[in-house]
Structures are given as structure tokens and as C-alpha cells.
């Protein structure tokens, strides 16, 4: 395939079968797992889709003009994607990132020329969002795209991820993705439910160490403005241990080197697939591999005992 520029090469990622990890790959009533390899995007994660759509939408409505500075709260991947797009489109980028994210994410952001403002580890992304909102008030000339409430984030998946999956897997019964900003699930989930109403849409959210849930009170909680729970049919909370275990399963059995959040998504996908297998029902479960494992090598996720690796990950934001 030939493209005029890097951003033109975004999307159209492969959907790959998992013959070894699927409960029943062939025969009558197969229960098959399919991985959508979003690490094949320009900066190596699914967030390239949302970043490009959000920038284009802001350019179209006049909020972003040449020389502008973009501001965004992000635990990493969205920042890296925005940094690439900002560089190509001539914008500055300020990322507000929790300090408990992997060193590789910081290195990549700095390499692309982004400025990083750290927010405290306690409170995780909640604190990053709060800090970014305060910075936006203090710097009215900065443009906050705000992935948690930006309709273009979900639209990227409504126009891209969702249609690609349905085209490649018309027999799809379940769609499983990670729940962070909720953009992937809201966009692709809405598209799939409109076109194939029986499709189940399943969310996998990371369950972090206690530090991340360190709010002062319940009213400091956060639900992204994009979130509409009527799109979902189930939602799983996946521990670091289970996410790591499945991340290693992907390498061991299918040769797929994925990031930790993809292990969490596979864990939820397998829960659903196992239920279908026990019930004797046919299922084609498509799930998202959100990024590759490169950015998490320093976390020790891929070597030593699972228990030890999970302990090392305690308190880190891995999705």
C-alpha cells in the first residue's frame, strides 16, 4: 500500500484470528477470537485515530489555527498521537500526565517535542484532568481538545474502527474494547449496534492499585462526558494480575506482543467467549489490541513471575 503521508496511513488495521486461544476455533458452533491490531497505526496505538479526528474537527471549526498550542490530559498514548499530529500540522503540545506512567511514554513525548506537565500519582488520571482544566483557565490561548468529552474521539471509531470490523467480520457477535475515555466503545459500539443490533458490546476497564482511587470523597469521582452506558451490554474490571497473565498468553500462544491493556481486554473477551462455549453457542468475538508492548518493557511486565510483575505494576497506570 502507498500513502501520501503518515496520517493517510492511519487505520485499516488487520483483524487477526486467535486459533490457539479461542475456546473452539472450528467445527459446529465455533467460538472464535479475533484481535484488531491497532498497534499498526502510525505511532503504534489506537489513539492515533482519535487524535487525528480531534485535531481535524478543531481545525474545521476554527478553534485551532497555525501556531496554536494544544493542551491535553493524557496517561500517554493520546499524548504521543497528538504530538505526532501536532508536529505535522505545526502546533505546540502541552501534555498533563500522571507521574506514575511508564518512562517510555515520557521519552516518546519528549522525542516528538511535547512539553510534559506532571500531575501527582495519587488520583491517577483524575488529577491530570483536574490539572489540565485549571491550566486551560490560566492559559486561554491554549486549545484543550479534551478527549473525555470530545465527540470527534468517538466519531473516529464510528467512522473507522467500527466499519472496518464489521466489513472484516460480518458474523461478529461480540465487540470488546478498553474503557478509558470511552471513545472506542462509544463510537465503534454505536456503529456496530446500529448495523448489527444483536452484537454485544463489552467494556474492559483497568483495576489499578489503591493509590489511583485515592479521592478525598466520592463526589470527586469522574465519568467521561462521552460515556453512554446504553451502548454497553457488560463491563468488566480487570486486575493488573489478570491483565498481565493474558498479555503473556498472547505472546506465548499467538505470538502477539501487546501492551498490558490489551491483556485486560483479552481477559474480558475470554470470559464472554467461555460463556458462549459452555452454552454451545456460536460466537465471533472481536477485541482491540490497543498498542504493542514496547512502551512497557521497563515495567518488567514481560519477565519473571506473574505475581512479582503484578506487584511491580502496582500503582502504575498501564492503560
Amino acid at each position: 500500500m502507498r500513502y501520501d503521508s503518515l496520517t493517510d496511513a492511519l487505520g485499516e488495521t488487520p483483524l487477526v484470528g486467535l486459533p490457539r486461544l479461542s475456546p473452539r476455533w472450528s467445527g459446529e458452533s465455533p467460538v472464535r477470537l479475533w484481535a484488531k491490531l491497532e498497534d499498526r497505526n502510525p505511532t503504534g496505538s489506537i489513539k492515533d485515530r482519535a487524535a487525528l479526528f480531534m485535531v481535524r474537527a478543531a481545525e474545521a471549526d476554527g478553534r485551532l489555527t497555525p501556531g496554536c498550542t494544544i493542551l491535553e490530559p493524557t496517561s500517554g498514548n493520546t499524548g504521543i498521537s497528538l504530538a505526532m499530529v501536532a508536529k505535522l500540522h505545526g502546533y505546540g503540545l502541552v501534555c498533563v500526565m500522571p507521574e506514575n506512567t511508564s518512562i517510555e511514554r515520557r521519552q516518546l513525548l519528549e522525542m516528538f517535542g511535547a512539553r510534559i506537565i506532571s500531575s501527582p500519582a495519587a488520583g491517577g488520571s483524575n488529577q491530570a484532568v483536574a490539572t489540565a482544566k485549571k491550566l486551560a483557565e490560566e492559559n486561554p490561548d491554549w486549545v484543550m481538545l479534551y478527549q473525555y468529552g470530545n465527540a470527534a474521539n468517538a466519531q473516529a471509531h464510528y467512522e473507522g474502527t467500527g466499519p472496518e470490523i464489521l466489513r472484516d467480520l460480518p458474523t461478529i457477535t461480540h465487540f470488546v474494547a478498553g474503557l478509558g475515555t470511552t471513545g472506542t466503545l462509544m463510537g465503534a459500539g454505536r456503529y456496530l449496534r446500529e448495523k448489527a443490533p444483536d452484537v454485544q458490546v463489552i467494556a474492559a476497564e483497568p483495576r489499578y492499585g489503591e493509590l489511583v482511587y485515592g479521592l478525598r470523597n466520592i463526589d470527586e469521582g469522574f465519568v467521561p462526558e462521552l460515556y453512554d452506558d446504553s451502548i454497553l451490554t457488560s463491563r468488566f474490571s480487570v486486575t493488573s494480575y489478570d491483565a498481565l497473565r493474558r498479555t503473556r498468553d498472547l505472546i506465548e500462544h499467538e505470538g502477539i506482543f501487546a501492551g498490558i491493556s490489551s491483556g485486560a481486554i483479552l481477559h474480558a473477551a475470554l470470559s464472554i467467549a467461555d460463556r458462549a462455549a459452555v452454552a454451545g453457542e456460536r460466537a465471533d468475538v472481536a477485541f482491540i489490541v490497543a498498542d504493542g508492548g514496547w512502551k512497557y518493557l521497563s515495567t518488567g511486565a514481560y519477565d519473571g513471575s506473574l505475581q512479582h510483575a503484578a506487584e511491580k505494576l502496582e500503582g502504575q497506570l498501564w492503560a
Binding site: V129, G180, A203, E210, L215
Partner: protein, 91 residues
Amino acid sequence: MAIEVKIPTILRTYTGGAKSVEAAGDTVSALLDDLDANHPGLKGRLITDDGSLHRFVNVYVNDEDVRFTGSLDTVLKDGDAVTILPAVAGG
């Protein structure tokens, strides 16, 4: 029927600092009533005046969000694990 309930940091003032407590109930609703009997005030932090789950509170039975399994009517069985967590930002 014993069910382990994991309590988030911000609500441990109600459980004397305990990270997890045991409670009983056939449904999530009954479980929360039992929790409140032993740890008065806890239920009021989880349930709003109209009787539904607080927007910023998530309750999971064996890692699955009860909002998609019948909400407070979700049926519990012996050995289930219940986790209560505040809703926080991801992404």
C-alpha cells in the same frame, strides 16, 4: 452465606480501616443492607436518595459491573466476591 466485600480507601472510615469485610445477602441490595447494619452510614455513601447507585460508585460482582447484570437486584451466591470502587478517569 458469606460474601467478601472489598472496600475502597475513602470508605474505610466506616469499616474501622478494614480493606475487606464479610457480609450476607441474596442480592446486592440485601448485601448493602447487611453491610449498613454492621457499618452504619456506609450504604448512604453508595446509594442516592432515589434508591439507585451513586453515579461515581461502581459495584462489581466477580469483576463484572452490576449495572449490566440487574443493578441492585443482581443475584449473589456463596463465594462471590464483591468489589466497591469509586469511578475515576482512565485513558
